[in-house]
C-alpha cells in the first residue's frame, strides 16, 4: 500500500511538471506563464517530496523542511516576479 502511494505521488507530481512546463514555449503573457509554472513547480514538487517521504520515513524532518521551504519560497518568488514584471510592462506600454 505504501509503495502504491509512493509511486502514485511521484507520478502525479511528474504529471504536474509535464503539464505546466511546456507553457513556456507559448507566446503568452508573463502572468499566465507564472501561474501555470507555479502550479507545476510548487504543487508538483510538493507531491514528489511527499512521495519521497513515504518512501523513506527516517528522513521525514528534512523532507518536511523541503516542503515548507518549497511552499514559502516558490510562492513568494512567483509574487515578486509577477509584481516586478507587471510593473515593467505597464511602464513600457504607457
Amino acid at each position: 500500500m505504501i509503495n502504491f502511494l509512493t509511486y502514485f505521488c511521484l507520478i502525479s507530481g511528474l504529471i504536474f511538471w509535464l503539464w505546466g512546463t511546456p507553457v513556456l514555449f507559448q507566446k503568452r503573457s508573463i502572468l499566465y506563464k507564472l501561474h501555470s509554472l507555479s502550479v507545476a513547480d510548487t504543487l508538483g514538487s510538493i507531491l514528489i517530496v511527499v512521495g519521497l517521504s513515504l518512501k523513506i520515513p527516517s528522513e521525514l524532518p528534512l523532507l518536511i523542511l523541503a516542503i515548507i521551504s518549497l511552499t514559502i519560497w516558490n510562492t513568494m518568488l512567483g509574487y515578486v516576479l509577477a509584481y516586478s514584471a507587471n510593473n515593467q510592462e505597464e511602464k513600457s506600454d504607457g
Binding site: L14, W17, L18, T21, P22, L24, F25, I30, K33, L34, L37, A40, D41, T42, S45, I48, V49, L52, K55, I56, E59, L62, L63, L65, A66, S69, L70, W73, N74, M76, L77, G78, V80, L81, S84, A85, N87, Q88, E89, K91, S92
Partner: protein, 85 residues
C-alpha cells in the same frame, strides 16, 4: 524529470525578454532542487538532501533579489531600452 528540466533551459537560451528569462530560470532552480532531493533519496545520501533543500531556499531568494534589481534598473529610462530588447 530531466526532460522537463530541459524545457526551461531551452527557453532561457531562446528567449530575449528578460522577464520571460527570469520565469524560466526560476523554474530551473526549483526543478534542479527537486531532482537533487530525488537522487539523495535513491542514494540514501543525506548530505545531498540538505544541499537540495538549501538550493530551494537560496536559489529562490537570489532570484528574488535579482528581480528587484532588474525592476530598479528598469525604472531608469536610459536603461529601459536595454531591458526590453
Amino acid at each position: 524529470m530531466i526532460l522537463t528540466l530541459l524545457i526551461p533551459i531551452y527557453q532561457t537560451w531562446h528567449e530575449d525578454n528578460v522577464w520571460q528569462k527570469m520565469v524560466a530560470v526560476s523554474s530551473i532552480s526549483s526543478k534542479v532542487s527537486i531532482i537533487t532531493l530525488v537522487i539523495s533519496v535513491l542514494r540514501d545520501d543525506w548530505m545531498m538532501g540538505v544541499v537540495g533543500v538549501i538550493i530551494i531556499t537560496v536559489g529562490n531568494a537570489g532570484l528574488m533579489l535579482l528581480a528587484h534589481l532588474l525592476k530598479k534598473i528598469g525604472e531608469n529610462d536610459s536603461t529601459q531600452l536595454i531591458i526590453n530588447n
